[in-house]
Symmetry: C2
């Protein structure tokens, strides 16, 4: 996979010229900065390659419904896309998941490239080649492994995100920091700096987003099909996905990043109150846990009163793709880079831990020791 | 991929024990010999692995309609299949194509194994991992590369095929003989021998079917994702698929094997009346062409008066997945193992060749030289 950096002007155009597709389909979210869209369109047309399809979709989880697929496949058909055509997505993770899936099965697979426009997609979803559609209420039950030909990170797209969406995407970056000590928790410039638009903050954000994504790609390179190691990237996601699914049909659905932030907070709680495996935290790791918890509380505040019951969450967790037989497999955190996989939840232990965790959640200063 | 031979008793059970799935889904065609179904069911249950799903479907091209997928995915979901479960198909190529596709995308891919029950599936469709669904009227527009964990050939399943279906499947074997001189054109025992049931004819058919499939697998091993060489396996299929698609909605649809037999006869005609590339047949190759044509005429008689017009076929050929840009790519045959790829049709040349070919088709003894 090619890595692309926005500060390297023309890099993605060079990538396109290497690929030499016989046609390009550019599928992007509707709500993007029109000036940036124009800039990219001009660059695309300057390459002289046939742009066979340019389409706008309403982003978000709704795109991952099974019923959306015929729309995408019909678009591919009527544009005459071949398996040598390239599909470029410009949007968030739901868009790259859904369009990536459709591209991966059209004519048994067309190449895709992603230009992520959300923090979440830039550090996670756009990278690594997992595509996914939801089946019923369960997320990503249908999908493929279909690595993008390239990912091009340009944080200027993220200026038009709402602060809530911008912040939620940082949950995956927190996860990467919990997995790999080589990445910094917080980028130097702030969201406000990025929005106000100094070029140096754009570059700083690009670098930070890509360094975070690099944690993921180091793991994926060792295990592209999730036979083992790649599962550590699911830290916080077993509960996170269940929370997201369970809240999907409520009047206040969670953003994916918010659900993951809760999943990570829960993993930190479990580390301090071992239930998944017996290993205890070292004093250093307990200190790290406190730092991560404080960061999550500050950066991605999630508050609601109607948390799903443990039994509801358990039913969703039982659907997790990583499970073997009747166990719910999860990743236990015991310090930065110190992950226990596979660890298995028993129903009673999960329900008790969720109950205790929730009781202390959102308290101003949760105890760092039981 | 494991190769399994019916005469090696217990081989497929051994394969299952190696795989150790956490559950088995057995999906088979409705119209199979009930005694054989019982024999296989007993063998499956004797292994003591949980059989989570046993389902019967009506085989044939209808299974490859997009609308069938939700039924398959719902079955997977309600049976609680995980990505460590194994899906076993027992049926023809349409069944393994459709169920293979569904399995390849459920939880991003469950392993599959195929027990082909038609000659066509035994020499071709069950092998090599191409899955496919039809999109609109166009065959296999949606699919994946998802190699089966094993293929188990047992020609006893083929005793209940109609003679027409049995014979049509041999078209792919003729193709393999046209590609690779290591395979014999005709098996020694006849269809009647197999039906009458001597054990030695079962073994002889198994061996012959597997030797034919081995031609395919030698090519696939060198190019699993059809980047180049694998395209030679499309000999006869560019026209064959177009014929099959064009006749699908008529009152007399062609079987896939019949369409391929026509495609091969057309390839032999083109070899004798070069239109795809300039190379001429050697006298030896012309003799081979005559032998293959006589065999096809005798083994897979196809006669109809309402052949599709050249323009209709061309429109379908333009949809072929192997095309690049606006060219229709095809494989030209110039002798056993002597294939020219890629060769490209121009519309006028194709239409003239189809017209001339059709004029001579079904004549008792078409000229071997113009």
């Amino acid at each position: 996979m090619l890595r692309q950096h926005a500060s390297d002007q023309g890099a993605w155009q060079n990538a396109l010229q290497q690929i030499q597709p016989d046609g390009i389909a550019w599928i992007r979210e509707e709500a993007l900065d029109p000036l940036l869209v124009s800039e990219y369109r001009d660059a695309l047309h300057a390459l002289g390659m046939p742009v066979r399809l340019e389409s706008q979709l309403i982003g978000g989880e709704g795109l991952k419904a099974w019923d959306v697929l015929p729309t995408l496949l019909d678009m591919f058909e009527s544009s005459g896309l071949s398996r040598r055509s390239l599909v470029i997505t410009t949007g968030g993770g739901a868009l790259s998941d859904a369009v990536g899936f459709a591209a991966s099965v059209w004519k048994r697979g067309m190449p895709v490239a992603h230009i992520p426009t959300t923090t979440l997609a830039a550090v996670d979803a756009a990278w690594g080649g997992k595509t996914g559609m939801n089946w019923g209420e369960v997320k990503n039950q249908v999908g493929t492994f279909h690595p993008p030909t390239f990912v091009h990170v340009d944080s200027r797209w993220m200026r038009t995100l709402s602060p809530r969406e911008f912040q939620a995407g940082l949950a995956e970056a927190a996860k990467h920091a919990m997995i790999d000590a080589h990445v910094n928790l917080s980028p130097t410039p702030s969201y406000a700096d990025l929005v106000q638009g100094a070029g140096s903050s754009v570059d700083a954000w690009n670098t930070w987003l890509e360094q975070s994504a690099a944690v993921k790609m180091r793991v994926v390179a060792q295990d592209p099909q999730e036979q083992g190691l790649r599962s550590v990237l699911n830290l916080g996601h077993t509960l996170g996905h269940a929370l997201e699914s369970a809240c999907l049909s409520t009047s206040t659905p969670l953003l994916h990043g918010e659900a993951v932030a809760m999943g990570l907070a829960f993993a930190l709680w479990e580390a301090e109150h071992p239930a998944l495996c017996e290993e205890q935290l070292t004093p250093d790791a307990a200190q790290e846990a406190a730092t991560f918890r404080a960061w999550l509380n500050h950066q991605i505040p999630v508050s609601r009163t109607d948390w799903p019951a443990a039994g509801v969450l358990w039913a969703f967790m039982m659907q997790d793709k990583k499970n073997v037989g009747n166990e719910v497999r999860d990743v236990a955190w015991r310090g930065t880079g110190r992950l226990v996989w596979p660890a298995s939840w028993k129903k009673a232990a999960f329900e008790a831990t969720w109950h205790d965790f929730l009781r202390c959640w959102n308290e101003p200063s949760p105890p760092s020791d039981p």
